[in-house]
Symmetry: C2
C-alpha cells in the first residue's frame, strides 16, 4: 500500500514523504487502514511493535518502547474524584513517552538512507531522539532553547548528539527545521512519524482495559502532538469496531502557559500564541503549539475539554502521586492528575467515571527540592529510635 499523509482538518492527502504540513497550514498525520484491525494475539509481542500493522514502519530499533504498566490507583480516587488509572510512560527506555515516536522516526530515517536525524526540544524529546539515533548508528542534531538547564543537557550528551543551543523564538525554530534544505530528517514533536509512534500509548490503554473503554483519558499537552496521536488512535480503533464508546479526551496545561486552554475557554476555532509566564511544568511550556488547533479539535470532537491548572496544584498533585501511588513523576505529568481533580470538582468528571491519566515522564531526571526529614543517629541507638516512632 502506498504510504500517505493527510490533514485532519481540510482532508487533503499527500504522498508520505512530500511534506509535513498541509497547504492549509495544519499538521499532517499518517494514514493507516484500521478496517479489519483486531487486537493482536495475546503475548505475541508486548511492546509498541505489537501494533506494527497500524504504523508506517514495522522493524524495531533500539530498546523497544511501550508495554508500560497501566495501574489502578485506588489510593488516589478521593483526590482525583473518580476511578483513576495511571499509564506509566516514564517507564519507557529514556524515561518518557517520547520514545514511541523516536523509535518510529529513527527507524524510518534509517530505512530511507538518512545519516542524520534531528529534533527541536526542551529536553525529553532531545534525549529520546539522541538515544534512538545512537542505537541505530545515526548521527543526531539536537536544537534546544538557550535557557535549557545544564543538568538536562548532560543527560542528552550521554548519547553523543551534536547539540545546538539556539537563541531566538522557539516556535519559529521549530517551524523552520521542518523545511530546511539539509539532509537531516527532523522528527519534531508533531511530525507525522512521531505522531504515528505516539499513537501506540492509546492502543495500549484501550487494549489493557478492553472490552470496556474508559470514560476519559487526560494528558498533559504541549505541542499538541501527543493529543493528536491519542485522538488518531481512538478514531482508528472506533473505526475498527473495537470501542464500546469513545473516551473523552481532556488536554491539560499549566495555567502559566496555556494557549490551547485559552482558545478553548474563548470558544475559538484556532489556537494563537500567548505570552507565557514561568511554570514548574517546563516540558509542556509551549506558548506557540504547532498542533494546538488539532489538540483543540481532539478535545471538542470527543466531548472532552482543555483545562489549565496553577503550579501550586501541580506541586500538590506530584506529592499526592508519590505518597499515595508510589510514583515519582515530572511536573508535567502531575498536570494531568491536577487536571483530573479540577475536572471532578467542576463536575465534568463524576465519581464513577473511569479515567486514565497519562504520566508522560519520569521524575528522576531532575531535582525538585523535596524537603528531607532525616534523623542522624548512632548505630547503638537504632532500636530505641525506631521503637520511639513505631510505638507512637
Amino acid at each position: 500500500m502506498e504510504r500517505t499523509v493527510s490533514c485532519y482538518d481540510c482532508g487533503e492527502t499527500y504522498a508520505f514523504d512530500a511534506r509535513k504540513r498541509c497547504a492549509c497550514g495544519e499538521p499532517l498525520w499518517f494514514d493507516s487502514d484500521p478496517d479489519g484491525f483486531a487486537w493482536p494475539e495475546t503475548g505475541s509481542v508486548d511492546d509498541m511493535w505489537r501494533y506494527a500493522d497500524l504504523l508506517p514502519v514495522s522493524d524495531p530499533v533500539g530498546v523497544a518502547p511501550g508495554g508500560t504498566p497501566l495501574s489502578r490507583a485506588e489510593r488516589l480516587d478521593d483526590y482525583a474524584g473518580c476511578n483513576l488509572f495511571l499509564k506509566h510512560e516514564g517507564q519507557n527506555p529514556t524515561g518518557s513517552f517520547k520514545d514511541r515516536g523516536s523509535a518510529v522516526g529513527v527507524r524510518d530515517a534509517a530505512d530511507a538512507g538518512f545519516e542524520w536525524v534531528g529534533t527541536v526540544s526542551h529536553g525529553n524529546m532531545a534525549l529520546s531522539t539522541s538515544a534512538y539515533a545512537a542505537s541505530a548508528d545515526l548521527e543526531c542534531a539536537v536544537f534546544v532553547p538557550a535557557e535549557t538547564p545544564a543538568e538536562r543537557l548532560e543527560l542528552i550528551a550521554r548519547h553523543d548528539p551534536h547539540v545546538f543551543t539556539v537563541e531566538g523564538d522557539y516556535g519559529r525554530l521549530y517551524a523552520d527545521t521542518l523545511s530546511l534544505p539539509v539532509d537531516v530528517n527532523f522528527v519534531n514533536s508533531d511530525t507525522p512519524l512521531r505522531v504515528a509512534g505516539q499513537k501506540t500509548v492509546a492502543y495500549e490503554i484501550l487494549e489493557q482495559l478492553a472490552p470496556a473503554a474508559p470514560d476519559a483519558i487526560a494528558l498533559p499537552v504541549s505541542s499538541g502532538g501527543q493529543a493528536s496521536a491519542v485522538w488518531k488512535a481512538v478514531r482508528e480503533l472506533d473505526r475498527a469496531g473495537l470501542l464500546d464508546s469513545v473516551p473523552r479526551l481532556y488536554c491539560c496545561q499549566a495555567a502559566a502557559c496555556d494557549p490551547i486552554a485559552t482558545a478553548y475557554r474563548n470558544g475559538d476555532r484556532t489556537v494563537t500564541p500567548v505570552a507565557a509566564d514561568e511554570t514548574i511544568a517546563v516540558s509542556i511550556a509551549n506558548s506557540d503549539p504547532p498542533s494546538g488547533t488539532r489538540a483543540l479539535a481532539a478535545a471538542r470532537d470527543t466531548g472532552g475539554a482543555v483545562v489549565s491548572v496553577p503550579d501550586e496544584d501541580v506541586r500538590d498533585a506530584m506529592r499526592a502521586i508519590s505518597t499515595r501511588a508510589g510514583v515519582s513523576v515530572e511536573p508535567s505529568s502531575a498536570v494531568a492528575v491536577a487536571g483530573v481533580r479540577h475536572l471532578s470538582r467542576t463536575g465534568a468528571l463524576e465519581a464513577n467515571d473511569d479515567v486514565v491519566a497519562i504520566l508522560t515522564g519520569s521524575g528522576y531526571k531532575e531535582d525538585y527540592d523535596t524537603e528531607v526529614r532525616t534523623d542522624t543517629i548512632a548505630l547503638d541507638d537504632v532500636e530505641r529510635e525506631l521503637a520511639s516512632i513505631v510505638d507512637t
Copy 2:
C-alpha cells in the same frame, strides 16, 4: 502448602516467619515447588506477577514491576566480545531491579498485618521500598549510611518515609535490623522475601529467550541477594525441566570493593570483609556482603566466576552502552558489561556465546559529569550551522 525457608548450604528448613538467617549463619531463601511448573500462558500477565505460583505472595501491590525489555545489543557485540543481550531493569517503576523484591516484601508485610516496613540501603532499595510502602499505605523506616548524598535522599523523601542517617558500620547495621525486637518488617537486600521477588528477573530472561537458554548471565553484585535470587530461579527452572542447559552465572564487582571476587580468586569457600576504596559504582560498594558466600556458591555451582573491574573500565562501559545501545545506566550496571568484556578478553566467554547482562538501574537518578559539546547559535544561522556539520 505450609510456607518454609531453607538454607542453600546446610539444608536446614524453618517455618517461613521464624527467622531470616540459618543457625549455621548463612541466609535463608523461600522454598517454592517448581515440580510441574510450566511457562504461563502467553499474554495472561506480562509483569512479575506472571510467576506468582513460584512466589510467597500472589497479590500485586503498587505499580507492577517486571516485564522489562530484553534487547539484543548487536552494536555492543564487538565491545563485549560475545552476542550481548541487555536486560533493562532500570525500566522498573522506581528505576531499579529492587522493585521486584519490594513488591513481594511489602505485600507480605501488609498481609501479615504490619504497619511498618523497613530497609537498610545505599539508595535504590530505600527508594523502592519507600515507594511500595506508600502505594500500600504502610509506614516505612529507611536507614541509610551517613555519607549518602543529599540528592539521593531527596528522591527517597518524595515517598515520605522516615529516614534515619546512621553513623557506624554498615554491615553491622544491616545485620542488627534483621533481629530487632520492634514491630517493623525489614525487607533487606538478601532476606527471603526480597530474594523471592528478585528471582523473577531470571524467570523473565529465561522465558524471553526460551527454548534456548543463554550461555551466561552476568550481573553486578553487592550484598549477593540478587545473585542468590538468579541462582535460585535457575535451579527451579532446571528442576522444572524448562532449561536445555544451565547458564553460567558471572558476578561482577568494582575492583575498589570486591570481597566476593577476592574470595573467588583466593579459592576460599567463604567471603570475608575487605578494606574498600571509593568507587564510582556506589550502589554495589559493599565490603561485607551478607550473601557473599551464597553468591560465590552460585558462580561456582553454575560453572561461572566472580570478577572485578577497575573504575576506568566502568566509565568506558557506561559510555559504550549509552552511545551504542542508547541506554543510560548507573555505574553499577555498567560493571556487568565491563565484566563481560573482561571475561571475553580472558577467554572465559567466547564470540559465539549468548550472554545476558543485567542492567540493574537507570542512569537518570544522578549526574555523572558528562561533557557537553554544544554550540550556541542564533536562529538565523541554523541552516548554515547544520549544513556545515552534515556535509563534512
